[in-house]
């Protein structure tokens, strides 16, 4: 069954580590829908979040092949239902007139988005949320004319006490 799966990998923060991961994914024909990277609570360790489309077997192979990379420290699957998934987007919308400007401000407030920059002909909005929320908002903004979108890709964290941790080293 084709499904969306979330994988979180903790990796050593070394030059080339992203190339190793990207290269392996391409070579083994895995399709990654979204990937995001950032630092963690542990110095020298980065956290990569990716979403993979495929069946169980593909997911297992992606995880095992990731684990084989020496600089990948830990790989976990997080289930959407038990986790918080977020993405951040910056959206530049063109606002031709005062009415458009007022409407965009109103929508932004309904979506709990923030206006982070204002110019004569455009506004930049920052919005955080899950996939549906971002898509719905972007859809609305299309009516005004989207100049540019930058999205971070998804990050995910398990609810409750569970956490993706590095095992103790010797």
């Amino acid at each position: 069954m084709q499904e969306e799966h979330f994988i979180v990998a903790l990796v050593e923060d070394r030059p080339g580590v992203m190339q190793r991961i990207a290269g392996m994914l391409r070579r083994r024909n895995f399709n990654i829908d979204s990937i995001s990277v950032g630092s963690t609570e542990i110095p020298g360790v980065s956290r990569i979040t990716m979403t993979v489309h495929g069946d169980r077997q593909t997911l297992e192979q992606v995880m095992k092949q990731l684990n084989k990379l020496i600089e990948v420290v830990k790989v976990s699957e997080l289930r959407q239902a038990e986790s918080v998934v977020r993405e951040l987007a910056l959206i530049k919308v063109s606002v031709k007139n005062e009415r458009a400007r007022a409407e965009v401000v109103q929508y932004a407030s309904i979506f709990r988005a923030r206006i982070v920059d204002v110019a004569k002909q455009s506004m930049m909005i920052e919005i955080t949320g899950d996939e549906e929320k971002l898509s719905a908002f972007i859809e609305l903004m299309r009516t005004y004319g989207i100049v540019e979108i930058a999205r971070t890709g998804k990050v995910i964290m398990a609810r409750g006490a569970r956490s993706v941790k590095v095992r103790e080293t010797r």
């Binding site: 050593e12 190339q19 190793r20 192979q61 020496i70 990948v72």
Partner: protein, 559 residues
């Protein structure tokens, strides 16, 4: 702590790893390293092509079961290594490669002989390192050998920028290194082992499939005990050849595309397949949808990613073959066993008789079968066979019995023409006391024939047995069988004269055209006191059978 030059630190770290030999070729970016080697006890064997260096290190590693080391300069030297690294990677062989690199300030500037060897070798090494500071050298070398030789072995490359070789720093040599993300599993999960034992007790038609992992792990003794205890017939892959004595009554030889019929039949009819240290390559399984269709599969492998990759495992056991088989023998010893009917063993034994191959041909030109048979008789069980790639390799795979691990060395996964000869050089260096014969195709031998100079100059007396059909025979066979005999680009013509080539290099050369001369020619080659080339003129269009055509099931054997 001691203050020293980077190049000296590399050499000292290599000495600490117990490195005795390096196969390589120097160049501008590795001169400081070679300068340090000059005053080291490590023997350097100057090869004539870096591909030869990588294969020689690979052959050396496969004979001894520990890392073989090769070295090359930056740019073209490093790129010449890559085929050898890819080869070692596919066959899980512990090779450590050391490459020179342009000095750090020049990296990224398209400096003279700069290549991104780290980027190039990422997908064909288990791991690679570029040294970024002189002080980290000992740790990098320790990590490289640790990674190459543990878990599922594989090649590791260390890229050494020239300024890192020339610079000095305070260095410390660590005994242990810790790698956060690398901790192979060696012991099998007890629950899985018990489940495997239960499945073994219940099986009516068990078959053991032994792969390259059995040899890597040194698990032949445990494997033999298990086979005899059950009892179960044993088939091996090409890479597993020699892990179980092929002279043993329970051996059915090799399976796969050019496997023995008895082996392919047994796997197809089995109700339990005990697969140990094998990655279920397409060449060994045929079409997977009809591979061992009735069997429950126990898959023992040290690499979790191999479980379920190609063939579904009903009972996976992740761990080292030797340890897991030991655990399994322990559990089986404690369990109450029932009498198993002998009918399965009787059946496979009958197949074995029925399909025993004919090797005794008297034809001129020679039948390769006859040559294989005589080489087999010429060799002792500790002697080593390496192979090139093609029909020559498959004749050896299918018909030459080997009874000890690490005595059959072949390019399995990558199928690299030109592997066998430099690998033979590496093997002979590793074990000078045994005979080493490269089973070569004429096409393959030409791909690294320059290493005759290496063998002659360094007195590495290996024998190259050329199966001379003047064809890229394996490709020709496919064209004959599947492309209507349209022989496109496979005829090698009349050049060269292998005897004269051998002599020009200072080696011994002899041509054999009649079956009665084979034994004597081998004897002369062995006694020549120098490397030897025996040119066996074989029937040009002789095919390798049996064969499972591509995309077919193991039972659909032709020929």
């Amino acid at each position: 702590m001691a203050e020293m030059k980077g190049a000296d630190a590399v050499v000292q770290a290599l000495e600490r790893e117990g490195v005795e030999v390096i196969f390589g070729i120097p160049g501008g970016a590795s001169i400081p390293f070679y300068d340090s080697l000059y005053s080291s006890s490590i023997r350097h064997i100057l090869m004539r092509h870096e591909q030869g260096a990588a294969h020689a290190a690979d052959g050396y590693a496969r004979v001894l079961g520990r890392a073989g080391v090769c070295s090359a300069t930056s740019g073209p030297g490093a790129t010449n290594l890559t085929t050898g690294l890819a080869n070692a990677y596919m066959d899980s062989s512990p090779v450590v490669a050391i490459t020179g690199q342009v000095a750090t300030p020049f990296i990224g500037k398209d400096a003279f002989q700069e290549t991104d060897v780290i980027g190039i070798t990422m997908p064909i090494t288990k791991h690679n390192f570029q040294v970024r500071s002189v002080s980290e050298i000992p740790e990098v070398v320790r990590k490289a050998f640790h990674i190459a030789q543990t878990g599922r072995p594989g090649p590791v490359l260390i890229d050494l920028p020239k300024d890192m070789q020339e610079g000095t720093a305070e260095v410390e040599f660590p005994e242990e290194v810790s790698l956060m993300g690398y901790r192979p599993t060696y012991d099998g999960h007890p629950k899985q082992v018990r489940e495997a034992a239960r499945a073994i007790l219940e099986a009516e038609r068990p078959v053991i499939l032994a792969g390259g992992g059995v040899i890597i792990s040194g698990a032949s003794e445990e494997l033999r005990q298990l086979a005899e205890l059950i009892p179960a017939p044993v088939v091996t892959t090409l890479m597993g050849k020699g892990s179980f004595p092929e002279t043993h009554p329970l051996s059915l030889g090799v399976l796969g595309m050019h496997g023995r019929r008895e082996a392919n039949h047994a796997v197809t009819e089995s109700d339990l397949l005990i697969a140990v240290g094998t990655r279920f390559s397409d060449r060994s399984t045929g079409m997977v949808s009809c591979f061992a269709p009735e069997a429950k599969v126990i898959h023992i492998d040290i690499d979790p990613a191999e479980i379920g990759k190609n063939v579904r495992a009903h009972i996976p056991v992740v761990g080292d073959a030797k340890r897991v088989l030991g655990q399994l023998l322990g559990v089986l010893g404690e369990m109450r066993r029932r009498e198993r009917s002998r009918s399965w063993i009787e059946k496979v034994t009958l197949w074995k008789k029925e399909f025993a191959p004919e090797l005794e041909y008297d034809d001129v030109p020679l039948k390769p079968h006859r040559v294989i048979k005589e080489i087999m008789e010429f060799l002792g069980e500790d002697d080593i066979v390496t192979t090139e790639v093609g029909q020559c390799q498959m004749w050896a795979h299918c018909y030459m019995q080997r009874s000890k691990p690490r005595t059959f060395i072949s390019s399995g996964g990558l199928g690299t023409m030109g592997f066998g000869f430099p690998a033979a050089i590496g093997a002979k260096v590793a074990k000078p006391e045994v005979r080493v014969v490269d089973i070569a195709g004429d096409g393959s031998f030409l791909m690294n024939i320059q290493e005759l100079a290496t063998a002659v100059v360094n007195e590495i007396d290996v024998i190259v047995a050329v199966f001379d059909n003047r064809y890229l025979g394996m490709v020709r066979q496919w064209q004959e069988l599947f492309y209507d005999r349209r022989y496109s680009a496979v005829d090698l013509g009349s050049s060269p004269d292998f005897v004269k080539v051998a002599e020009a290099f200072g080696a011994f050369g002899i041509r054999v055209e009649r079956p009665g001369e084979i034994g004597d020619a081998l004897k002369q080659a062995a006694e020549a006191g120098k490397p030897a080339v025996v040119d066996f003129v074989i029937e040009r269009e002789c095919n390798i059978f049996p064969m499972v055509p591509p995309g077919k099931c193991l039972k659909e054997v032709i020929g």
